[in-house]
């Protein structure tokens, strides 16, 4: 029987079911943010590291505006925010994360009272981008990127410099001294102490601005849950070293939001316990993430939010299991052994410094080689992110290190939240070329 290739079902990945619950938790989180004004709640807008346990302990709502930009892009609803930012004067080459979110800030500022507006051409539709409630205060906690820091400086100006703003500064983990290595050396320890001291200042600031007492017991409690959840996540990530892998990088992308900004509580722990259980179940019952896993890859770079599902299919179609990623595996409370839940500030500072874009190029390359080893990878896909210099820094060096270690590499053009920078044809051609190279290499080895 001949098969019509056009109608042949494409082998897609078997995504984890348990991550759907995360989607619900995250949607609830945003609904809570949207309704904050009617509840009279104080809202902090913040960017960068997961400082949410501090807000939780002072009893205010935390709105990770950057994550909102990502959410809009993932839902393909970034258009109105980006149009607004263009109208405001932002150049298209500027970080599209910042552009999207600043577009939301302009919308929130314009309509602080009514909270929802309609844009020309979209009459009758509720524009999600306009639903962020105006902030009561800002905290900037962006490591590794000057744009990330400057972004809130601009938000502060957009709101006429009338709201309190606190900034945490992080040194890039550059590694001047011979003892410097990943989470090692005096520079690392010194940077951790420097950031810890700033977190304590942030607590003073929050107390001052809100007039409330910081609840240390609450912090210990939420860090207890976060540590548990983080431990489960890391264990589950490790399980994906199995061949074939039970879950892919794209499943882990779905779990970023929960670990990044949901409250530290039992629900968070349960979520990661369920994810881990599903992965264990898959291993026990030989259920792979891909029906025909043939190649194993790492994904380097920041996420490309408008294309997550599309990319997942693109790789799955070619039997490529993308297993690890810089964004998913080297971020978000990923070294839980550093957390002391009874005295959490130093461990929190360490994680904030461990933003995946706050490393020097050699460390990026070395972490990649480390992942290649532990997950048995054939190659690395680099997402060259047009408007994110921070994620792009060091990629070409890491690629050279990977090639020297015998890994195949490819680079594709995309962006964090601006779909117009994608070059589909280039991705296809380069992916084909890389897979051919791996095949050749395997044949030569056999």
């Amino acid at each position: 029987m001949s098969v019509d290739l056009k109608t042949k079902p494409v082998a897609l990945s078997n995504r984890l079911k348990s991550t759907r619950a995360g989607g619900k938790l995250v949607a609830d989180y945003w609904d809570r943010i949207f309704t904050a004004p009617e509840r009279g709640a104080t809202v902090a807008w913040y960017n960068g590291a997961a400082i949410n346990p501090l807000f939780q302990a002072i009893g205010i709502e935390w709105c990770h505006t950057e994550a909102f930009g990502a959410r809009l892009a993932a839902m393909h609803l970034e258009g109105p925010a980006q149009e607004m930012s263009e109208e405001y004067g932002y150049n298209r080459e500027l970080c599209s994360y910042a552009r999207t979110t600043l577009g939301c800030a302009v919308l929130a500022k314009r309509d602080g009272q009514a909270n929802e507006i309609e844009l020309a051409g979209m009459e009758g539709e509720k524009v999600l981008a306009s639903r962020l409630p105006p902030p009561n205060l800002f905290v900037n906690a962006y490591a590794g990127c000057s744009t990330g820091q400057q972004w809130d400086e601009i938000s502060y100006r957009l709101f006429d410099k009338e709201l309190p703003l606190f900034k945490i500064s992080y040194p890039l983990l550059w590694g001047n001294q011979p003892d410097a290595a990943y989470i090692q050396g005096e520079e690392w320890e010194e940077a951790s102490r420097y950031v810890s001291a700033q977190i304590l200042k942030l607590i003073e600031f929050l107390e001052h601005v809100t007039g409330r007492k910081f609840n240390w017991d609450q912090l210990h409690e939420s860090m207890h849950y976060i540590k548990q959840a983080a431990q489960l996540r890391v264990e589950a990530l490790e399980l994906c070293a199995a061949r074939p892998t039970p879950a892919t990088f794209f499943d882990w992308v779905a779990s970023i939001a929960p670990i990044n900004f949901l409250p530290g509580d039992e629900k968070l722990v349960q979520y990661f316990a369920d994810v881990k259980a599903e992965i264990e179940d898959r291993i026990a019952n030989d259920i792979p993430a891909l029906p025909n896993e043939k190649y194993r890859m790492a994904f380097d770079g920041i996420m490309n939010w408008n294309k997550v599902g599309w990319l997942a299919d693109k790789f799955a179609e070619r039997d490529v299991a993308v297993i690890s990623g810089r964004y998913t595996h080297t971020s978000f409370w990923h070294e839980p052994q550093l957390l002391d839940e009874n005295d959490p500030i130093l461990g929190m500072a360490k994680h904030y410094l461990l933003c995946p874009f706050n490393h020097n190029a050699r460390t990026v390359g070395n972490r990649l080689l480390h992942d290649a080893e532990r997950f048995g990878l054939d190659g690395v896909v680099f997402h060259s992110t047009r408007t994110c210099r921070s994620a792009s820094n060091g990629q070409l060096i890491a690629a050279q290190m990977a090639q020297q270690a015998g890994l195949q590499t490819m680079i594709f053009d995309g962006d964090v939240a601006d779909v117009s920078f994608y070059k589909d044809a280039i991705l296809d051609t380069r992916l084909e070329a890389m897979l051919e190279a791996i095949d050749l290499h395997r044949r030569a080895g056999a």
């Binding site: 004067g89 900034k167 700033q198």
Partner: protein
């Protein structure tokens, strides 16, 4: 041409020659003195520390050469400066420096620095990062620490102790040169000297490269020669040039602006007033004085690479326009310069609100389309001329601010 004009032209040509081949200058200096040279990155490096160690501090300059070897290390969508310095490192041109040091934090600059470290394994490439947030005591303390660290590392590199007296001496000589250059800016602003933008840039940029004593001597000579330099006679459209961080705009661009019937009366370019805006205090502990200089520079001429709640670039620009009487602003933005792109709408908002005519020009490393720019520049000049004419006849109708 008068003898004074001749003298000035000869001095400025000497400075232009230094700027057009800074590598040759450094080579010559090293051969002549047998001492070390340290490449430093903009925009806030305290060069006095290097000078006090007996070495030559040189701000690594953008090169005119196309970016080739550097493409293996840095993507195309980086600013011209970061691409060019990476390329120069990849071509091994920067190996003539005994070390490369940086204190700034722009994300593109740090990417370039890391690529340079990879390309120059035989050289120390050192980052003593100053926090860019200027509002906190923690930042002040951190800069203190970083200054001490810099001093220690420079001592190691040069093998010379950096004594407080030597730092003070470096501060004094550099202050004196800065003061002369600021006087030249004031003379230009007042129309007392007809110094072209190309010449003005050579005066500042050469100070980023040359030996401090030689530079000071040249500035003294230049100031004396300028005493008889012709003043400005005609009533051309007066413009302020703003922005362009880290590297020098192409002088041909300045020539084009001037050919379109405008004159540059002031600027806040990095290779302009921004660089010389602030002296280092000459009393007290010189290390503390250098630290305070870092914070004061951003108050004197705010920069969007810094985060400071109380410093507003747009406010500074309005004051600068008031002081110089400039009719409008040309914003020069290096393509892909994140800190500038992010701040630009704040500038635009202010100019629109205040009715200040402005034009945004993006520059690139290769292929500046001068002829296309000419039309836009002519439109700006025309807009301003019409406004002037309307104002002279008592009308106040022209509200447009951009072309």
């Amino acid at each position: 041409m008068t003898a004074a004009t001749d003298r000035v032209n000869i001095i400025v040509s000497r400075l232009e020659a230094v700027c057009s081949d800074y590598i040759a200058y450094v080579k010559g200096w090293k051969e002549r003195t047998g001492r070390k040279a340290v490449g430093v990155l903009p925009m806030n490096f305290p060069v006095e520390l290097v000078q006090a160690a007996g070495a030559l501090p040189v701000f690594v300059q953008e090169s005119d050469e196309p970016v080739t070897d550097g493409r293996n290390l840095i993507y195309e969508y980086y600013c011209a400066y970061s691409k060019s310095i990476t390329d120069q490192a990849a071509k091994q041109w920067l190996d003539l420096f005994d070390g490369i040091f940086a204190v700034d934090h722009c994300v593109a600059l740090l990417g370039a620095l890391d690529a340079m470290r990879f390309a120059m394994p035989s050289r120390l490439v050192y980052l003593a990062q100053f926090p860019a947030s200027m509002d906190e005591q923690a930042s002040v303390d951190e800069v203190d620490k970083r200054m001490r660290e810099l001093r220690r590392e420079l001592e190691k590199l040069t093998g010379a102790a950096i004594l407080p007296e030597a730092i003070s001496e470096a501060i004094r000589s550099r202050n004196e040169a800065r003061q002369i250059v600021r006087r030249l800016f004031a003379l230009r602003r007042d129309g007392a000297i007809n110094l072209s933008a190309r010449m003005m840039q050579a005066v500042v940029q050469s100070g980023m490269i040359m030996d401090a004593a030689e530079y000071l001597e040249t500035m003294l000579e230049l100031e004396a020669a300028l005493a008889d330099f012709p003043p400005v006679h005609d009533r051309k459209v007066k413009l302020h040039l703003s922005g362009h961080f880290c590297h020098a705009p192409r002088p041909e661009l300045f020539d084009m602006i001037e050919q379109c019937g405008a004159m540059i009366v002031d600027d806040d370019l990095y290779t302009g007033y921004r660089f010389v805006s602030t002296d280092v205090a000459e009393t007290g502990d010189p290390a503390i004085a250098l630290r305070d200089w870092y914070f004061q520079r951003n108050v004197n001429v705010p920069c969007s690479t810094r985060a400071q709640k109380t410093a507003d670039w747009e406010g500074y620009l309005l004051q600068a326009l008031e002081r110089s009487g400039a009719d409008g602003v040309i914003i020069l933005m290096a393509k892909f310069c994140e800190p500038h792109m992010l701040y630009y709408p704040e500038l635009r908002k202010t100019f629109r609100a205040q009715g200040v005519p402005y034009l945004l020009i993006e520059t690139e490393h290769e292929g500046l389309a001068l002829e296309m720019l000419r039309t836009r520049l002519e439109s700006l000049v025309e807009l301003i001329s019409k406004r002037r004419a309307a104002e002279a006849s008592g009308q106040s109708g022209i509200k447009e601010t951009s072309v």
